[in-house]
Amino acid sequence: MVKQLDYMKAEELLNMYGIKVVSGKYVKNTDEAIRFFDGEAIVLKAIPSKPVHKSKSGMVAVDLKTPDEIVKGFNKVRKAAHRFSPYKILAQKMVKGTEIIIGGRQDAQFGKLLLVGLGGVDVEIFRDFSLRVCPITGYDAESMITGLKSRSIIASSDKQFKMVKELLIKASKLMSDNDISELDLNPIILHDDTYHAVDLRILE
């Protein structure tokens, strides 16, 4: 049976490989959520212990900019998550930018695979992705990016190209070293010459 790694444990693991995750914290109630807020917009999301599609099931409230919005958002998320109990509610800093997906899975025939593509909730519709067998070389990482239709969005500058390339090599190492059956970092948001993974799913 597949088991989903707890979000905070997943964050810890990603940090070990130098993969940046947006700062976040579990919150038990609206007070804790408001305390997490420091004037910059936040996101609240419910994380059920079993994997479900969060944004499509209403379990995410984004761009909350005032204590009032936070309370409303908290209640909305809690209501939507009710039928997926047990769950936890995570507060995160809101980041905006280009959404990409980096993922991995275990293939019965070829072993661990690494994927990169245009991210977000509609990845299955656009299907713009590259796939390679782990571990990948620098050349593999570069050809994964240049092989995308969205290459000029994902690698909009030389600096960003290099950043995504290095991120892919780190993710490949993460996959190779660990007992991971499926990995979804979707989205990872590219912004201000850096990036942050905002949604993590690691299945053991």
């Binding site: 994997p51 993922g103 990845v123 590259s130 796939l131 390679r132 299945l203």
Partner: protein, 471 residues
């Protein structure tokens, strides 16, 4: 090394060498009855002029088959046997395999069907266990076996009047499927490029994709590997062998069975996007293979790899004796990720001097419908020497007033002396077909559409870049 059923493999890529160049062959199931597969195989050995020893084996008769002394069992031959070609009903194969073992047969190709492909996995395992006991490497079962036009070995059970024999050349073709194998084999002969080795390996009970790709990568006669695959059994080993092969020579691949049943049950975006077919595609891309989408593309790619030099540059010059097709070719160049070359000023002024005033000196170079062999030759001479040109598309429309056999001869001449890749586009009927054959027999790849020609050129350039490690 373990096979699919934890049976130790016997065969390696070296075993295939024995099968391709045997000094002696036993055809088990040989018969005087022309309806029997064993008859056709034996007849083929005679037709092809195989120079080694051939021993017909038929358990029902001593005497002679097709004028040769026949034996009831391989055990009765009393001389070394390098290869046994087994073409008898499946149920009888294990017993015959044991006889092969006792007779010291060095390798076996099991042509017979009726094993794992129809659910008789036990029978296949039984045969395999015996082969393993006597260390006999096997190709098959359920296959056509091997062909080597140089050693004149041909284990195919298809009579020579039904399927053309390719001439000797540099393309090797391996196929899991016998049907795909034999039709491509026939087409290779028809397309006029030569064959190095042909391997139809069926159920891959022992010798599998990994051994075959290693064999072809090491084979000196093979310049281009062409592979039809439905699945592989040893994924990681295949990946390693594939990368190694690609460093030595181009591999063109077509994968059958692209549906993804497993992807439906995926938990993550990644698993739903990247199903088992995508995994194969990833392996092929990562190994630098040229992936063909259908059989025609397979041949198109094989042709350009077989005849043209590598280049990492993607600036394509077009010369044509018809404006419209030059326009279509230009579109196709960009659609395939290539660019139209910009000629140097020097080339332009040279062309201005040799071309008639009606010809605009620009790319694509439209030399007009009255362009003859001299005009083609002048254009090729200038453009092939231009440092801004990496590869050339020649559109030769043989319907035009100026084009005849001399144009074909001129193109062949330049193909022989320039060191840049060149492909020819010649759509048309029977008159064009004659010239297509002239060109192809002198090593010029000819295509019926600008799309096919530029796609093939793009495959060549992508592979060249992979070899050099450039993007």
């Amino acid at each position: 090394m373990k096979g699919p059923d934890n049976v130790t493999k016997v065969g390696t890529y070296r075993s295939i060498e024995t099968m391709m160049n045997p000094k002696s062959v036993a055809v088990i199931g040989a018969s005087n009855n022309p309806d029997k597969i064993g008859h056709i195989i034996l007849q083929n050995y005679l037709d092809e002029g195989y120079s080694g020893k051939v021993y017909p084996i038929n358990n029902k008769r001593d005497g002679d088959i097709l004028g040769m002394k026949s034996y009831k069992s391989v055990k009765d031959v009393g001389a070394p046997i390098d290869l046994a070609v087994i073409a008898i009903p499946a149920d009888a194969v294990p017993a015959v395999m044991r006889e092969c073992g006792l007779a010291g047969v060095k390798s076996a190709i099991v042509v017979s069907g009726g094993f794992a492909e129809v659910g008789k996995t036990k029978l296949q395992d039984e045969m395999l266990a015996i082969a393993r006991k006597y260390s006999i490497p096997i190709i098959g079962p359920n296959c056509l076996g091997v062909t080597d036009p140089k050693s004149r070995v041909n284990t195919m059970f298809l009579p020579s009047y039904k399927i053309d024999r390719p001439k000797i050349g540099g393309v090797s073709f391996a196929s899991q499927s016998g049907a795909v194998g034999s039709s491509i084999f026939d087409l290779i002969a028809h397309e006029g490029f030569g064959l190095a080795k042909f391997i139809s390996y069926g159920n891959a009970a022992d010798i599998d994709e990994v051994d075959i790709i290693e064999y072809l990568a090491n084979d000196k006669d093979t310049k281009v590997i062409v592979f039809y695959i439905e699945g592989v059994k040893r994924g990681r080993e295949f990946f390693a062998a594939a990368k190694k092969a690609s460093q030595a020579k181009p591999v063109v691949i077509i994968k059958g069975g692209i549906t993804n049943e497993g992807a439906k049950a995926a938990h993550s975006h990644t698993a739903s996007l990247a199903g088992s077919y995508e995994a194969y595609e990833a392996v092929f891309q990562q190994a630098g293979f040229a992936i063909a989408k259908d059989m025609q593309e397979l041949l198109d790619y094989a042709k350009v790899f077989d005849t043209q030099p590598l280049t990492t540059g993607s600036r394509i010059a077009v010369i044509t004796n018809g404006g419209g097709i030059g326009v279509i070719a230009t579109d196709a160049i960009y659609q395939n990720g290539l660019t139209l070359a910009t000629l140097t000023k020097e080339s332009e002024s040279k062309l201005r001097k040799v071309m008639p005033p009606i010809v605009n000196i620009r790319q694509p170079l439209d030399m007009a419908g009255d362009a003859d062999d001299k005009r083609f030759g002048d254009a090729l001479s200038v453009i092939s020497a231009d440092p801004n040109v990496d590869a050339i598309v020649v559109i030769a429309l043989f319907q035009t007033p100026g084009a005849d056999s001399r144009v074909a001869a001129t193109i062949s001449h330049y193909n022989g002396i320039i060191n840049k890749p060149m492909v020819v586009v010649s759509p048309g009927g029977s008159y064009t077909e004659v010239h297509k054959n002239m060109l192809e027999n002198t090593g010029v790849p000819v295509y019926s559409s600008p799309g096919a020609a530029t796609r093939s050129l793009a495959a060549l350039i992508n592979y060249s870049k992979y070899r050099k490690g450039v993007l």
